[in-house]
């Protein structure tokens, strides 16, 4: 038996002893609380997007909501099946199961390390790349003395590429070496409670390879700062402005204020009043009932644009002149 196998066997025996010492905990029944929270959050975001007239955002959020509802349905089904299975025989990892788990980790991960003195077993993932952003490899370190606790493991960035806004965030779902497990929470807790180490490390690895948009410590779009939607420049999120119409992020140079309501807007959401040539948001421009041109309220005269107003005045004058002319015409004497 080679040295790594001896170490793996020793670790398996120690882990099994730890489990057998009464510290093992059954995984609590998982209910889709996270997914439900996500559903409620999405519903609020959709309502907000609709109130602001952000139709594209509302449409995208609707798709996310459909996915979240489907996830919730699936998780409820799993919870039902898990509850039903409790009345039957439950598998418990034996020392040989744990040993086989440890050996199999070598087939899945680039590096597996066992430190008996630190009671830790760790695996190293491949380089994590999410939407073309490189986060480098991660080491997942499990302390088998803490198997029953919430912080039994740490996720350590080996070649950190942290978010611009926080060095502690090394992955969209990792902060201070703690992974926010989201959809994987129940499965990870169950794997730890039953000491299924192979499943545990696989689950954490898959989480690290997945980006949950809209539920990250720092979103990928904001990882290196925030990009201005007008000029594309990157800036700190604290220095950005939000277009009040479409919600896009803007830098200070590209932020433009509506000459009417004075709120910040991007260039795409402002239009020039053809009369005064100042920039206004759509809410501050009115269509002239005469010609349909959109002009600002300040340029409206008696509810019409200046051209239509002038035309109307001219017509009124001509009518007036005509009626005056008719009145001044000599009246033929009665016969």
């Amino acid at each position: 038996m080679d040295p790594i196998n001896k170490t793996a066997l020793r670790a398996a025996v120690l882990i099994h002893e730890q489990m057998a010492s009464g510290k093992r905990q059954d995984a609590s029944l998982y209910l889709p609380e996270y997914t439900w929270t996500n559903i409620q959050r999405l519903r609020r975001q959709i309502d907000r997007a609709r109130r602001h007239g952000w139709h594209r955002a509302a449409s995208r959020l609707n798709e996310d909501l459909a996915t979240a509802l489907d996830n919730s349905r699936r998780e409820l089904e799993n919870a039902f099946r898990a509850l039903k299975s409790r009345s039957t025989e439950r598998p418990v990892s034996s020392a040989s199961d744990i040993y086989r788990d440890v050996l199999a980790l070598h087939d899945e991960f680039e590096e597996v390390e066992i430190e008996l003195d630190k009671h830790e077993i760790s695996v190293t993932t491949d380089r994590i790349v999410l939407e073309d952003l490189n986060f480098g490899p991660f080491q997942v370190r499990l302390d088998w003395h803490c198997l029953g606790s919430m912080h039994a493991y740490r996720v350590v960035a080996l070649d950190p590429h942290p978010a611009a806004k926080s060095d502690d965030v090394t992955h969209p779902h990792v902060q201070d070496e703690q992974l926010c497990e989201g959809e994987g929470r129940a499965a990870i807790r169950a794997a730890l409670a039953e000491c299924r180490l192979h499943d545990f490390f696989m689950l954490v690895s898959r989480l690290l390879h997945t980006y949950g948009r809209g539920a990250a410590f720092v979103e990928l779009n904001d990882w290196s700062g925030v990009n201005c939607s007008d000029c594309g420049a990157t800036m700190s999120p604290d220095d950005s402005y939000c277009c009040q119409r479409c919600g896009s992020e803007l830098c200070n140079d590209c932020r433009q204020s509506c000459a009417g309501c004075e709120e910040s807007h991007c260039s795409g959401c402002l239009s020039q009043c053809p009369e005064c040539e100042m920039d206004f948001c759509r809410g501050c421009l009115e269509a002239c009932p005469g010609c349909g041109r959109k002009i600002c309220g300040g340029c409206m005269e008696d509810g019409l644009c200046p051209s239509c107003r002038e035309e109307q005045s001219q017509e009124e004058k001509e009518e007036h002149d005509a009626s005056e002319g008719a009145r001044n015409e000599p009246v033929a004497p009665r016969a």
Partner: protein, 75 residues
């Protein structure tokens, strides 16, 4: 009938012994257990090893199904 250990790492993450008909392949087992899933969206392992879809499951096998994409979160 055979008895295999089925580890479902999707959602609840439960592990349970289930009975299957003799001659059941990995592909058939997956289709039966994850009816709405596509095999390419899961890591399917038998006795902790990747296997061919047409491999016939044996008594006492350990079959694990792990989604390739699992979203983390803030909560």
């Amino acid at each position: 009938m055979h008895k295999v250990l089925y580890v479902n790492n999707d959602g609840g993450g439960f592990a349970d012994f289930v009975e299957i008909a003799e001659g059941t392949t990995v592909q058939q087992f997956f289709a039966e257990r994850v009816p709405n899933g596509r095999p390419q969206d899961y890591l399917i392992r038998v006795n902790r090893q990747p296997v061919a879809a047409d491999q016939v499951l044996q008594e006492g096998d350990r079959v694990s199904v792990t989604p390739t994409k699992i979203e983390g979160a803030l909560v």
